[in-house]
Amino acid sequence: MPSVIQLENVTYGYDRNSVVWRVSGSFAQGSMTAVVGPNGGGKSTLLKGIMGWLRAWNGRVVWQGLSLADVGYLPQRVEIDRSFPMTVLDAVLLGFWRQCGGWRSMTAAMKARARQALVEVGLPECENRLIGGLSSGQFQRVLFARLMVQDARVLLLDEPFSAIDAGTAEHLLCLARQWHVEGRTIIAVLHDFDQVRRFFPETLLLAREIIGWGATSEILIPPFLSQARVAADVWDQRSKAA
């Protein structure tokens, strides 16, 4: 399969500390990759780097045949204002940004598609509720419904299943697998190795630098995992010394 995102020796950092160190590799079209590793290992930073929001200290990220409209990004929930006065339907309709932009009105067909997406994520008859009244799991379902209507070829998910109930996580993981079957490329930052083993064929193990990248069964093994912990400790000590 041709690659859709190519990482060429990229390094990212904040202040004087590098957070992602000389990462090279590529995400194949239609692949489903979990990005795992210790806290502070650069997983979310790598996703933001792929989105082009961080200036690389070194190297570059190449999008092959992709435009902004082809990429869907799901941020960590802490970065979203959940007290914002917005209805569930309006939140899902934002997924049509590519078609409507900042000021064109939503069509009846778009609203129907958004309602259908809410049904598919298990939130029928919630469209008029305010997002502030939803549980964490329900809110995450809304964000997945927004991704569905966005209809992007590449999906970058930053910790999409953390702090939600097991049933919701399972449902959303099945949806993600369905998107993979449809040929979309999925890159997700995850913490739960069990979820990774069951749903993600490929894994990138990152502890600021690449520890392993390949088939999940070959990466999530004790030698690599302990190597990741050691690498994280070494990088932490270097950061403190700097």
Partner: protein, 288 residues
């Protein structure tokens, strides 16, 4: 009955300056309502307070050059207010200071510089006018300017409403689908400074932000969506303007603090008895 009518409407029928003051409050309320709601939702309430102080040196330079000329003071206030807002934002981006600390630093310097400049040319009365406003200062020129600012505000908000709302709710999403978040943010800053400048003739530089923040904060207890919050905030702002002008007229106090105190009363009443999330509704929920 006639007495009540005379009390509530008489001053506006009798005096042109009261009618102009009310018309200015109407114009300001229409612009300040939605701008205040977006300030609140963007968690920029305190920053807008700092920005209102930042227009003082500009207004003072206008005063220094042309006396109590609304146009000169407004242009000065706009230029310096916007410069300070952009500079404070830039300092927070390129240094370790957070935005709130950066704004606070600039606003203290601005306040000191403004008071110093006014006191070089004018007396204590002039300083009070600039700081706290006067309904007498609202002449036809100031009224036209407030109306133009409100019209411009509503037109620009209509165009960038959706990106602004999305940027409040989920900035990373907007960044991912549009990438022009900084443009919308800066346009919004321009609108904030414009509305602060539009309000300072009647309310004073220190008080003009009050007509944005207090009605918007009160509206949070009565409405649940952004558009309805903006409508309620504008209504509160207009009611505060009307009752504040009456209060100012009958008690002979500066119009700025009078209007803002009325807005403050609406805010306190809303905290206690509002429809959503107020003390009353929380008490009722606990009893169920």
């Amino acid at each position: 009955m006639t007495d009540i009518f005379d009390f509530l409407v008489g001053p506006f029928l009798e005096f042109g300056f009261m009618r102009r003051g009310f018309a200015a409050c109407l114009a300001l309320a229409l612009g300040c309502g939605p701008v205040g709601v977006l300030l609140l939702l963007r968690r920029m309430s305190l920053m807008s307070d700092a920005m209102s102080h930042a227009i003082l040196p500009g207004a003072a330079i206008g005063f220094f050059i042309a006396g109590l000329s609304p146009m000169a003071m407004s242009v000065g206030g706009f230029v310096v207010g916007l410069t300070v807002a952009l500079a404070a934002g830039a300092v927070s981006r390129v240094t370790l200071l957070r935005e709130d600390a950066s704004f606070a630093g600039f606003y203290l310097m601005s306040l000191a510089a403004g008071v110093l400049i006014v006191s070089l040319r004018g007396g204590a009365v002039d300083l009070l006018h600039v700081l706290f406003g006067s309904v007498l200062a609202v002449d036809d020129q100031a009224l036209v300017m407030a109306s133009i600012i409100t019209t411009l505000t509503l037109v620009v908000l209509a165009v960038i409403y959706r990106p602004l709302v999305v940027e409040c709710f989920d900035p990373d999403f907007l960044r991912a689908v549009d990438g022009r978040g900084a443009l919308y943010h800066h346009l919004f800053l321009v609108l904030v400074v414009l509305n602060l400048v539009g309000g300072f003739q009647a309310l004073g530089t220190l008080m003009s932000v009050g007509l944005m923040i207090l009605p918007a904060a009160a509206a949070r207890f009565w409405a649940r969506e952004v558009w309805s919050l903006a409508v309620v905030a504008s209504l509160f702002a207009l009611m505060s303007g009307y009752s504040g002008l009456l209060f100012s007229y009958y008690v002979s106090v500066p119009s700025g603090p009078a209007i803002i105190l009325c807005a403050g009363m609406a805010y306190v009443v809303s905290i206690i008895g509002g429809r959503y999330g107020s003390l009353r509704t929380r008490y009722q929920l606990r009893r169920k």
